[in-house]
Amino acid sequence: MTILTIANQKGGVGKTTSAVTLAHGLALAGQHTLLVDLDPQGHVAFALGMDKAPGLYRLVVDEEPVTSVAIYSRENLDIVPGDKKTEKAKRTIVISNFPAEIMTRVLKNAPYDVVILDMAPSLDVLHISALMASDWVLIPTKLDAMAVDGVNEVLRSMGEVAERGHRIGYSILPTFFDRTTRETIVQLKALVQTFNSHVWPPIPQDTKAREAPAFGKSLWEYCPRSPAMIGYDDGHESGYASTLHRVVEVLCG
């Protein structure tokens, strides 16, 4: 089992869209996948047309086994949904023994090929705990200064985790990519100059990607041929389909 965390301290950068799309993509590729929602907004379930539920609370506070908390979503894809009780779970974890180890503990021996953790836009105990459990971190970022600053914050947290002896690989996924604006080009160049090969080809801005959650469909179901999925028609690699190949390469060799 390998664990991929999707994180950025900045909100609205496409974390949940990336998590849901990659999780469903892995499932369609035959990987038995679990998607865990660590955000009290509970949008993972919503995006997949399901109800929010205190799945994470049951997992980390009630210490129910992952197999009884996980809910079937699609073939090969289960989710641990979240809701506002996730906030309460955080407060409980803080006063528990070894809070940083909690995600590692609850996911130990989970019967999945891949587990994806969709983080909340915050830096808290769940965040550190998720990083401690992770094999790889994917950091979606909009191409604006504040979101890129969020990347730095995640990397600082990863530095703290590394000090505890757990080094994690990472990639940066530019999202909401609009090739026509000057700021996009400036920020993408700055990102590449700073993080070099850690920067993956971007996800084009796409209205379809915003519509899909309203219908409770993943992008694979709602708009598999849209720019967000297959990139612009300009011969350059971009979109979630190419990101999925890279994730498979990183996680499954």
Binding site: L188, V192, N196, S197, V199, P201, D234, S242
Partner: protein, 117 residues
């Protein structure tokens, strides 16, 4: 310095490719409107310089003029046909090879010999 050392690419090749394309588009957008169309056409052209014997160049020019086409497209057509024949094993380059005096290549092709045959 060891000349066999190669500088490693630190940027993801797909991202580097995309960035250079965006830079090119930006450069073109900054040109006066009258020059943008030509710059766009030039950008997608792949220009190469090749050494051709003058007689061969003359032959190409004459055929191109006779067929009312550009020398570039004629040369590209012949090259395409030549590559296809070569890949299908319709001809062998070995009889035309002679040792090169240039340090970069082991052989050159003897075009004079080709004309005689």
């Amino acid at each position: 310095m060891d000349k066999s050392l190669q500088r490693r690419t630190v940027v993801d090749p797909a991202v580097a490719d995309m960035l250079s394309d965006m830079e090119r588009r930006k450069r073109i957008a900054n040109l006066p409107k009258s020059k943008q169309s030509k710059a766009r056409k030039d950008a997608v052209r792949h220009k190469v310089g090749l050494d051709l014997p003058p007689a061969l160049h003359d032959s190409l020019r004459q055929i191109a003029e006779g067929e009312h086409i550009s020398i570039s497209s004629l040369a590209a057509f012949f090259a395409q046909r030549g590559i296809e024949d070569y890949e299908e094993g319709k001809f062998d380059l070995s009889p035309h090879k002679r040792l090169s005096r240039c340090a970069r290549f082991e052989y050159v092709l003897d075009l004079a010999k080709l004309e005689k045959s």
